[in-house]
Symmetry: C2
Subunit: 124 residues, 2 copies
Amino acid sequence: MLDLCELRLQDDGRFPWVVLSPRRVGAVELADLPYAEQCKLLVEIDLAGRLVRTLGQAWSRPVQKLNIANLGNVTPQLHWHIVGRRSDDPCWPGPVWGQGTPEPLGREAVETVRTIFARMQNQG
Amino acid sequence: MLDLCELRLQDDGRFPWVVLSPRRVGAVELADLPYAEQCKLLVEIDLAGRLVRTLGQAWSRPVQKLNIANLGNVTPQLHWHIVGRRSDDPCWPGPVWGQGTPEPLGREAVETVRTIFARMQNQG
């Protein structure tokens, strides 16, 4: 559990990919958050980035570049994508959104993420 | 002139679009900036967002949603895109990167941006 955001795992095994959504009803743009909460969001984006990197390692596909984005053209509620990219991933070097077909994650992959996330949170 | 970043206008009249690049040699990931600079970056992203919105109004195409992203899959030096999107733009609702053909801006459009930016900076 993060202070500001819900963290969700994107159900797409092509990329280690999580989504952070601040628990602020009606927030659509980054500017809808007070500045202090934007700064808190940075802390949670950093944690999400480390989670994504750890997940890439667990999948033997270490992340080469993080992609961090707030688009929200389809889903208005403010949310940030944190995606681990590699030069051999199926969308490289283009963006991932709306490209190709997601590969649903199995139960085992989801459990791996849960374990990594719990460990990271315990480490603070 | 911003404290942290170079601000560049993307030469593509399809969207009001600027790029912020922190003047930190070798920075590639957001996490390469100290936290205090990340928080400063938020201030400059906010200004860039207001610039993009003002530009959209000047073009009689008010922005409906900002897209804010650090990709960097092609150009490693850390940079952030701030793009004004509308449901009638040529890429909606998909992302803009690598899609379609950019429409170069004329001299007049560039001068408009300069004027708007100068006015915003004078207002602080």
